[in-house]
Symmetry: C2
């Protein structure tokens, strides 16, 4: 089954390839009506479908972008992907999804491959460990946007949550309900991952601002599989925290696992707020107070900023344009007075 090409269409319609190409690109300015009709008919009859790879080679654009998420297991990642996909679909762009698995090597491999494939731009949740590579892309003025995390020394547009605000919203809610000994548990801050670092610093500032006890033992950032034992330690303190802020969805699930296994009552034995409005927050017993990220807006913005850069490649930016999105407190039961 030979595939039909523009040459076949041209022959069939009795015109030149150039003219067919004009037609395909909707440059009808000077095209005779008859010519147009002949081409339309030929395309129809032959079932012609333009080869976009050939077009891309010539035009140096693939109308495809890459999205490299740090860890596709976070609900946040999949919601962002969905938002980006929605936005791109409108503009007939496609997205290639890559999961770096928090591995800088894998991230590098993906970046290299995406660029070899002439992908027009990339949205990255950066692992943070490929600074040289990021720098090279900036130098080459390659369109790129960071999401969720950023690398402070680099002039790359970044879409971030106002993470400190997220923590302070949570602490304020705890304080309003009379909690004083408040802890925070996040996944590992190995490699200085922005949201984790900032959520902890936001936590510290808020604790201080409210004159609450600040204990190192109340702050845990660890690998997922270590969280259970860390919680054990925290709960066994002489003065254990009465409330905990979960740094993200995976941390929250670990905490809920712990409280369930140890028959701790929420919020009586331990009050809880989670950053990320997980799907089950409203139906859990008790329902869980969360800090929601505007995931849809953030994904959409990232896509918009990237596509703008792609369309507008000459305008190089000199400084990182950091776009902070506001988190929103959703009050439910897990943080209430007891």
């Amino acid at each position: 089954m030979r595939t039909v090409t523009i040459t076949d269409v041209a022959e069939h319609a009795g015109v030149s390839k150039s003219t067919v190409s004009q037609f395909l690109n909707k440059r009808y300015d000077y095209m005779a009506k008859k010519t147009k009709e002949k081409i339309e008919l030929a395309i129809e009859e032959l079932g012609y479908r333009p080869n976009i790879v050939a077009r891309s080679l010539k035009q140096k654009s693939t109308t495809t972008i890459g999205v490299i998420v740090a860890n596709i297991l976070h609900e946040f990642s999949t919601q962002i992907i969905r938002a980006i996909e929605d936005f791109c679909h409108e503009l007939d762009f496609h997205i290639i999804v890559c999961n770096a698995d928090d591995d800088p090597e894998k991230e590098k491999k993906y970046i290299d491959m995406l660029r070899a494939k002439q992908i027009d731009g990339i949205i990255i949740f950066p692992t943070g460990d490929n600074v040289e590579l990021y720098k090279r892309m900036i130098m080459e003025n390659y369109p790129i946007v960071f999401l969720d995390r950023h690398v402070p020394e680099l002039a790359i547009s970044s879409i971030l949550l106002d993470n400190e605000k997220a923590s302070s919203l949570a602490i304020e809610e705890f304080v309003r309900n009379g909690y004083e000994r408040i802890g925070i548990v996040t996944t590992s801050t190995f490699r200085n991952i922005t949201p984790r670092i900032e959520r902890i610093s936001g936590y510290k500032k808020a604790i201080e601002a409210h004159g609450l006890p600040m204990e190192d033992e109340y702050i845990k950032s660890a690998e997922i599989h270590e969280i259970q034992s860390d919680l054990q330690v925290m709960v066994s303190l002489p003065n254990p925290p009465q409330a905990i802020l979960a740094g993200n969805d995976l941390a929250l699930i670990e905490i809920l696992k712990y409280t369930k296994e140890n028959q701790m009552k929420i919020p009586e034995d331990l009050a809880l707020i989670g950053i990320d409005d997980v799907s089950f927050a409203g139906i859990y017993h008790p329902s869980i107070t969360t800090i929601a990220q505007p995931t849809f807006d953030m994904g959409k913005r990232a896509a918009k900023v990237l596509l703008d850069k792609i369309t507008n490649k000459d305008s190089r930016e000199e400084v990182a344009n950091i776009d902070r999105f506001k988190p929103r407190l959703i009050v439910r039961v897990s943080s209430s007075k007891t």
Copy 2:
């Protein structure tokens, strides 16, 4: 910043483009060691990265596949995507993720675009409404695999759950615990979506096999936003069901929302089993008995079957190869005796 091409490398190394190309494709058979080194050096010095679009045009392969999910909101979809991505990453294939949003028009648009982009093959969760289009792809021997759903009259390899088994596992678990009036709630069966149809038929067969009461009122399939009111009707029956099987994750969440709002106790007021082992099943109060799909295996298999077809395009298959995966019952508390 002019991009460096194979011509630049050839000049820099003092050899021909052909030889550089041989090098890039690792055909070292007859290559002098010195030549190899010169090329390596030139590539290094120029920071050359082959243009895969050009290669694709010539080789008629993009080492990229498309994945069109019906609805990216299901956890099942994202797990499948992850599994496919993992598998493809090993083989240096990339995946373009598309969300058809259960809209046949959108599905069609994606299929057309993916083919125009010369994507090597597609994994589809078919909406079912583009039968002509599917048929044309079969005729053209275009590599394609169906996942989660299939279209019975078509000879397309399909990766499916043994859906009837999934339902019967659930019914048996209910029966073991003494439940007799058992209902099922799924999202809409408009357009004959395979898993929903089969889960309902499996439910019916199992109910019959156990000699349990079979009532039309115990069977609901509806759009997400209608489920609350349908549950209201079901619960208000003179003889309401004592147990409900949730057809998928979204249906389960609706049911939990309903029971929570109406302060129904699980399993005392209503026992529950959900198909899809949702992330929160183990930490919910009470923990939720589920029927797990082997999502990782299914995604991996789909990718494997597709890549085999791509590698092996001559071997056309005559009949649909339907691959049924076994569901697994995970007993927790929501289905226990009261």
